[in-house]
């Protein structure tokens, strides 16, 4: 079976400004990848590039064997990429249910009932408008909306950012459940430990380049390497593996 995602020699950024350099990635079906790194190293740009929000200067992106790097955003979504953006970007003038139904695409595991089962809080607030939701509810809705497209690959950009601890626990359980079910996903997360615990593989970015790649469990077990990778002044001593 073809890899869900195959990125090769990717060079991308915003307009003429290049952020990502020499990115090579491969993600097999039912695998989850953590993208780690300090602030401003290009994690969000990587997800945005996969979704089509940036300018690709070189390299290729293939999804299930099909080249997608020149496709517009809506066609990438229709190819099977579900995106949970950092800012959640809920439609404020639509209700929870409308936010979900508007994103319904394809037949598969994810129906509105399945999303309500995953996030019962959304079922309770189905008639509330997007701008009437708390941050946690918005995040549930953002994930639910991405799932409604029955994605082959789910991109999660800091889904736990800025949320109260009690909300984080609930969302973490839901994300663990999704990844446990075998959903292929890329997770960008500030808390390296949390991300590594949930994923199979990891890459660490620095200044737009991949400086480490390997098994999540391996990196989690090696706290010195992890600390070195995420501490700016110690980067120079670590060569990419």
């Amino acid at each position: 079976m073809a890899d869900v995602l195959h990125v090769s020699g990717l060079r991308a950024g915003y307009g003429p400004t290049v952020i990502l350099e020499d990115i090579d990635l491969t993600l097999a079906p039912r695998r989850a990848l953590a993208v780690l790194g300090r602030n401003g190293v290009g994690k969000t740009t990587l997800l945005a590039t996969l979704m089509g929000h940036t300018t690709v200067h070189a390299g290729s992106i293939a999804m299930l064997g099909q080249r997608i790097e020149t496709r517009p955003i809506y066609r990438r979504a229709r190819t099977g990429i579900g995106y949970v953006p950092q800012g959640r970007e809920i439609f404020p003038s639509l209700t929870v249910e409308e936010n979900l139904l508007i994103a319904e695409r394809g037949r598969g595991r994810w129906t509105i009932r399945a999303v309500y089962d995953l996030f019962p809080r959304l079922a309770e607030r189905r008639n509330s408008f997007g701008n009437q939701l708390s941050g946690g509810e918005q995040q549930m809705l953002s994930i639910g909306r991405a799932l409604m497209g029955n994605p082959t690959l789910l991109l999660l950009d800091e889904p736990l950012e800025g949320l109260a601890p009690v909300i984080v626990d609930g969302l973490l359980a839901a994300i663990r459940h999704l990844l446990g079910e075998g959903l292929t996903a890329i997770l960008v997360e500030q808390s390296a430990k949390r991300a590594l615990e949930m994923t199979h593989e990891a890459v660490v970015l620095n200044r737009g380049r991949i400086v480490w790649r390997g098994e999540s469990a391996k990196l989690l077990a090696n706290s010195d390497t992890l600390a070195a990778l995420l501490t700016p002044e110690r980067h120079a001593s670590l060569a990419p593996s």
């Binding site: 979504a77 953006p85 439609f91 639509l94 019962p120 909306r145």
Partner: protein, 328 residues
Amino acid sequence: MHPHISTFYLASVRVRAAELLPWIVALAAFFLFPDFLSLGARILIYILLVLSLDLVIGYAGIVTLGHAAFFGIGAYTAGILSAHFGIKDPLLQLAAAGTVACLVGFGTGLYVLRTSGLTLIMLTLAISALCLEVANKATSWTGGADGLSGVTIAPILGYFRFDLWGKTAYLYSLAVLFVVWWLVRTLLNSPFGASLAGIRDNRTRMEGIGALVNRRLVQVYSISAGIAGLAGALLTQTNQFVGLNALGFELSGEILVMLVLGGVGRLYGAFIGTAAYLIAQDQLAKKFPEDWYLGVGILLVGVTMFARGGLLGALDSLTARLRRALKL
């Protein structure tokens, strides 16, 4: 499992009592103000036109300054059918006017809706100017600057003749407005309407969930153009004349003012804004024939400064205040 999942969108939401108010007022006006039925018919026709503008500006976020083009196309289609082809049946003219305007909306929409912001405004304005110039030059068809006369309209359904007092014109315009209002309301409360709201809220995110944003915009633009065309045909039928001003930039600006006055993206903003504008215009023009525009200007400045969301927005604030006061 969740046994109850609310009905899809708002399509099934029953008509609220307040939504019947415009129709009750319109019917009451027919009996209470028999001397003002011509003005009444004009108000109803312009409500239809402003409603079509609200569909593109208020619901889809397409800013246009050339909407009068479709109104004029509808008006000239009905007029030309009658004056040059002898097709005098009003419903046939109405259908033809709506279709032609819709097709022109589709054709131009495919091109102009690829742009946004100032470029879009300028392109809509340019298309309107082109239509005006075509109508001005094609004198053998349109009558040019003198306007198209010789328009005669057969009785509606073979029975209801357009009378001098404007009774038929009023009720006919009211009936057409009612049907279109119902269709627009249903459309806005359907998944189509929800997708328009999504596009207006966040176009990029809509693309991110795989929505065909451009196709949706062209669809709504064409529908809106068709409705504007219907309004244009109604004006031709009630006046039995078409002038170049039906296509002009001034009309595009005027209907935008009516919409802002009533409240953008509110469905009923078109009703209240158009009625307020045209009644104010009528009364001010009688009392101050030279300076009536000043009065309209003051009204608009007042609403813009003190009533956010137009007259409907002001009504909302007032209701909220009353509710709070009653609770206290």
